[in-house]
């Protein structure tokens, strides 16, 4: 999965920063317009998938290493459920954001912000993980047969 076309390379380099920026816009502007964590996560992941399609999976993996993606995956889920637990600790119901701050509306705003951020990071990490695993499956050494890896002696 690697393309040596200079037009594709240059245009993808031009496209990737706006895609990332648009993902952040969708993430943090979801309160006011269409959008939110799900859409933002998918758009964010699509930037890395485009990079992987043009520059190869191995190069892309050096940009987003496996542990970083897994941290994002687990961290997002923990952030979401952690906000719920914080509501419990502060004396409300699970996932009740009103108790997160002194003012109920401020608490709701903070809660929605954190929860949407958790959703975004889980979705982005999941999409990157699934694509990289599927597309890079043939590259893994577990796939290669013993006959190929050993030198032919005769």
């Amino acid at each position: 999965m690697m393309v040596y076309k200079s037009i594709l390379r240059v245009s993808s380099k031009l496209l990737i920063p706006p895609i990332l920026l648009f993902a952040l816009y969708v993430q943090f502007h979801g309160d006011f317009g269409p959008g939110g964590g799900f859409q933002a996560g998918v758009i964010f992941a699509s930037a890395f998938i485009l990079y992987a399609l043009i520059f190869g999976i191995d190069t892309a993996r050096r940009v987003v290493t496996g542990w970083a993606v897994r941290l994002l995956l687990a961290g997002g889920a923990l952030l979401y459920s952690g906000v719920g637990v914080a509501g419990l600790v502060l004396g409300g119901n699970y996932l009740n954001y009103s108790v997160l701050a002194d003012d109920a509306l401020v608490g709701q705003h903070l809660g929605i912000f954190l929860v949407e951020f958790g959703v975004g990071s889980v979705v982005a990490a999941a999409m990157i993980t699934i694509f990289f695993t599927f597309a890079g499956y043939r590259n893994s050494p577990g796939e290669s047969l013993p006959e190929e890896s050993g030198p032919e002696e005769d």
Partner: protein, 200 residues
Amino acid sequence: MIHYVLLIFMAVVALGLARQRNLFAVVILFGIYSFTAALLYVVMDAVDVAFTEAAVGAGISTVLMVATLALTSTEEKPATWRVCPLLVVTLTGAVLIYGTLDMPRYGDPSAPIHQHVAPHYIEKSAAEVGPPNIVTSVLASYRGYDTLGEVIVIFTAAAGVLVLLGRYRPKKRRVPSRKDQAVARKTTTRKAAARKASSP
């Protein structure tokens, strides 16, 4: 009017999907189908749903399916005509169409869905939750528990892929291990033995 144009286009794409044997073309047609569905949602004023459909259905799903095609073949096996599946599909489709006959008209204010909690969300969400986008209030706050479930589903999907298809190991470690070399030697000697046996 535009509804009918989009719906007819979706039906045409669906027919093309059913007839197409090349899986690559099928994946692209699925993307077109999803994108038309997104357009339909925009026409119906459900911009959040349209956004999700365009990003997930038309965008990421297509890319993931193309990545999956790299692991399988790109041609479908020739289809065989069987009566029983055709009967089941026709019957299910007929039942589904019969079910839609009972549905309230699109946009009907007296429909059950507009009588339950929707008025409360529309009237009170600005005072109770805050964001001007009611969809965000419903998804993240009123229905936060459901969204948590969705997030856990996605998390589980990615974890499952990681567990099943294995974590990535860098190419550097592709140097054959001692065990691999031993296996290779054994197979080459077996091959040589077989060659010796076959040539008198």
